[in-house]
Symmetry: C2
Subunit: 408 residues, 2 copies
C-alpha cells in the first residue's frame, strides 16, 4: 500500500475523452489499497481562452493580478470536477478539491504565488475514506482568503509540494516526454534517457535550457526530499527519477546532460577606458531593470591605453531593454561602441561529479574544436561548463560534445 501523487498537465486533459483516458490510466497503474492523489492543470487552451476574454474587457488585464487569478483558477476547477466524475463513472469513489481546499497556502503574490505551506488535512481525510483525491494544480490560498496562481509550471510545483506534505512514496509527473535525456532528442539522435538525475543537476539543466521540469518544482522536491518521477502519459515505461543522490549505477556518466539554449543574445561594450566601477555602472543599471545577466567576460583590448571590452549575454526577450540601458551607460563611459549579436547560442554540459574530475572542460573544448566550432565566451559553475557559440552551429556542437561524453 503506497501513497502516490500523480500529476497530469493541460495537454493530457485537453478533452473529455482525454480526461477519461487519464482516469483509466490511473486506475490501471494503481494497486488495490493504494492511496492516490491526482493533480491536474486546466484543459488544453482554457487558460489562453480566459485571458483572451479578459483582453476583451481591458487591453492590459495583467494589471489586475488578483482578478486574473480569480479568473484563471476556474480552469483547473473545471478539470477536477470532470476528472472526479470520470473516476466515479468507472466505479471508483473520488472527490475533487481546489488548491485552497487541498491546503495549498501561498504568499500574497498574485499570478506568480509561492507555496509557503501545505496543510492537507482534508486530502488525508478523503484518502482515508478510500477516495481518489483530485486536486487543482497551479493554485493556492493566500492569507487574505483569496485564490492565487503559481505561475508557469505551477501544477508541477503543486504536485511536488503536496507529495512532500503528504509524505508520499512517490510523485509522478506525466508529460509528453518519457524522461530526462542526456540531450534534446530532437537534436541528438543518440541521446539516452537517464534513469536517475540529482535535484541539483536538474536545476542546472533547467537553468541552461532543458525545459522538462520547472525549476520551482525541482526545488520543492529537494526541499521535501520527494523523489520526482518524470514519465510519459502515453506509455507504461519507467522514466527518470529526480532525487538527492543516485541509487543505481550510471556512474560511468560524469556528465549527465548536454544542453543548448538559443534564447540568448550577446552584448559587447567596446573600447571602454578601464577605470574602477565600470562593471558596476553597467550591471547595476541592468539589475535595477530586473534583467538577469549571464556570461560575463572582460578583456583588455589595448594594454597601453588601458582600454577594455566588456562582453555578456542576456535572455533574448530582455534584449531591447538591455540595449537602451547599455547604450546610455556606454555614452557616459565614453565607450567606443556597443555591438549586439542575436545569432548566438549557449551549449553546456552538466554533471554533479565534474568537480574534482579534471579534463571535462578540455574534453568539451576539444569536441568543439574538432567540429570547427569557435567559442566566443566560456563560463563555469560548480556543476556545469557553458560555451557561447554561433547559433547556426548548435546542432553540430551539441552532437560533437554528446558523442564524447556518451560514446556509442
Amino acid at each position: 500500500m503506497a501513497l502516490i501523487v500523480k500529476k497530469f498537465g493541460g495537454s493530457s486533459v485537453a478533452t473529455a475523452e482525454k480526461i477519461q483516458a487519464v482516469a483509466k490510466r490511473v486506475l490501471q497503474d494503481t494497486q488495490p489499497g493504494d492511496k492516490v492523489v491526482v493533480v491536474v492543470s486546466a484543459m488544453g487552451d482554457t487558460t489562453d481562452n480566459l485571458l483572451s476574454l479578459a483582453k476583451e474587457i481591458t487591453a492590459e488585464p495583467y494589471i489586475y493580478q488578483r482578478e486574473i487569478d480569480m479568473l484563471l483558477a476556474t480552469g483547473e476547477q473545471v478539470t477536477i470536477a470532470l476528472l472526479a466524475m470520470a473516476f466515479h463513472s468507472l466505479g471508483r469513489p473520488a472527490i475533487s478539491l481546489t488548491g485552497p481546499q487541498a491546503g495549498v497556502v501561498t504568499n500574497h503574490v498574485h499570478t506568480k504565488g509561492k507555496i509557503v505551506d501545505v496543510t492537507p488535512r482534508r486530502v488525508l481525510e478523503e484518502l482515508d475514506q478510500g477516495k481518489i483525491v483530485v486536486v487543482a494544480g497551479f493554485q493556492g490560498l493566500n492569507g487574505l482568503g483569496d485564490v492565487t496562481t503559481l505561475g508557469r509550471g505551477g501544477s508541477d510545483t503543486s504536485a511536488v509540494a503536496l507529495a512532500g506534505a503528504l509524505k508520499a512514496d512517490s510523485c509522478e509527473i506525466f508529460t509528453d516526454v518519457d524522461g530526462v535525456y542526456s540531450a534534446d532528442p530532437r537534436v541528438v539522435k543518440s541521446a539516452r534517457r537517464m534513469q536517475e538525475i540529482t535535484y541539483n543537476e536538474m536545476l542546472e539543466l533547467a537553468r541552461l535550457g532543458a525545459v522538462v521540469m520547472q525549476p520551482r518544482a525541482v526545488e520543492m522536491g529537494k526541499h521535501f526530499g520527494v523523489p520526482i518521477h518524470v514519465r510519459s502519459t502515453f506509455t507504461q515505461q519507467t522514466g527518470t527519477i529526480i532525487r538527492e543522490v543516485y541509487t543505481v549505477e550510471e556512474k560511468e556518466f560524469i556528465i549527465r546532460g548536454v544542453t543548448h539554449d538559443s534564447n540568448v543574445a550577446k552584448i559587447a561594450v567596446l573600447g571602454v577606458p578601464n577605470r574602477p566601477g565600470i562593471a558596476y555602472s553597467i550591471f547595476s543599471a541592468l539589475a535595477d531593470a530586473n534583467i538577469d545577466v549571464d556570461m560575463i567576460v572582460q578583456s583588455i583590448r589595448n594594454l597601453e591605453t588601458n582600454v577594455i571590452d566588456m562582453v555578456f549575454t542576456v535572455a533574448l526577450p530582455d534584449l531591447a531593454q538591455t540595449k537602451i540601458i547599455v547604450e546610455q551607460a556606454a555614452r557616459q563611459l565614453a565607450a567606443a561602441g556597443v555591438l549586439v549579436d542575436e545569432a548566438v547560442a549557449k551549449v553546456s554540459v552538466v554533471g554533479a561529479g565534474m568537480f574534482g574530475s579534471p579534463g571535462i572542460a578540455a574534453t568539451m573544448f576539444g569536441a568543439l574544436s574538432e567540429a570547427e566550432v569557435n567559442i566566443e565566451v566560456i563560463s563555469t559553475s560548480e556543476i556545469s561548463i557553458s560555451c557561447l557559440i554561433k547559433e547556426n552551429q548548435v546542432t553540430a556542437a551539441v552532437n560533437a560534445i554528446h558523442a564524447k561524453f556518451f560514446p556509442q
Copy 2:
C-alpha cells in the same frame, strides 16, 4: 449615501461587451459615496456548456451532484473576475468575491442548496475601503467547506439574502422586463406596470404562473424585510418594488394581477363508489411520488347509487407519471374510468385586499361569462381565485377579466 445591492442575470453579462455595459450602467446609477454590491450570474450559455462537457464524461452527470456544483460554480467566478476588471478599467476600485468568500452559507444539499446564513464580513470590509464588491450569485459554502449551488433563480436569492444581511437600502434585480405587470403584456395589451406589490402577492402570482421572480428570492426578501426593485437592464425607468405593505396609493386596484398558466393538465376519475378514504387512496399515492396536486373538486354523479367524480389538476410535466398512478388507483377503487385533458389552462386573479371585498369572485365569473368562457373548476386561496378553462380561450379570458379589474 446608500448601500445598494444590484443583480444582473446571465443574459445581461453574456459577452465581454455586455459586462462592460453593466459596469458603465452601475457607475451611472450610483452617487459618489454609495456602497455598491453587484451580484452576477454566469455568462449566457456558460452553464449549459459546462453541463455538455460533463455529459461527454458520463451520461448522467447529475448523479455526482457535488462535482456538478464544483463544475458550475466556475461560471459565476469567471463573470465576477471580468466585471471587477471592467470596473477597474473605468477607474473605479472593485473586487470580486465568490459566494463562499461573500459569506453565503448554505445547507448540505448540492445543486439546490438553501441559504441558511450570510456572514458578509469580507463584503463590508471591502465596501469600507471604497470598493465596488462584485459577488458570484447562485453559489455558497456548506459546512464541509464545499461549494454548493442554489438551483434555478439562485442568483436572485443570493442578491436578496446579501441585501438582507448587509441591511441594504435596496436590492435591485435587473431583468429583461421592466417590472411586474397586472397581466402578461404579451397577452393583454393594456396590462399596466404596478408601482408596488406585496411579497405575498408576488409569491401567489409566481405560484399561479407569473415568472418574473423566483419564489425563493421573494421569500428571502419577506424574511429579511428587504424591498426588491424589479427593473429593466435596458432602461433607467423605475420598475416595481416588492415589499411588505404598499407605501403609495394604488389602492383602487384590489386585484394586483391577472395570471394564466397553460402548463396544467386535468385528470378526472369518473364513477367512483363513494366510500370513506377514496380521496386519500388517490392523493397519498401521488404525494408519495412527489407530485403536487392543485385544484381538486369532488362532485356527486348519481345521488341514488352514491357514485362520485373526482377531478384535479397537476403540472403538465407530471402528467405521465400521474396517469400511471391514478389508473392503478382507479382499478382498485372500481372506478368507471379515468379521463385526461391537456388542453386546459388556469386563469387567476391575485390581490392581498380581496379578503373582505365581496364581489371579486362574482366580477371574475361575470367577465368569463360575458366572454363565453366555460369554467370547469374553481379554487380559491386567501388572496387569489383561480378558474380552470379551455386552453384556447386563455387570451379571451385574461383580457375579459383584466378589463373588469383594470378599466381603461
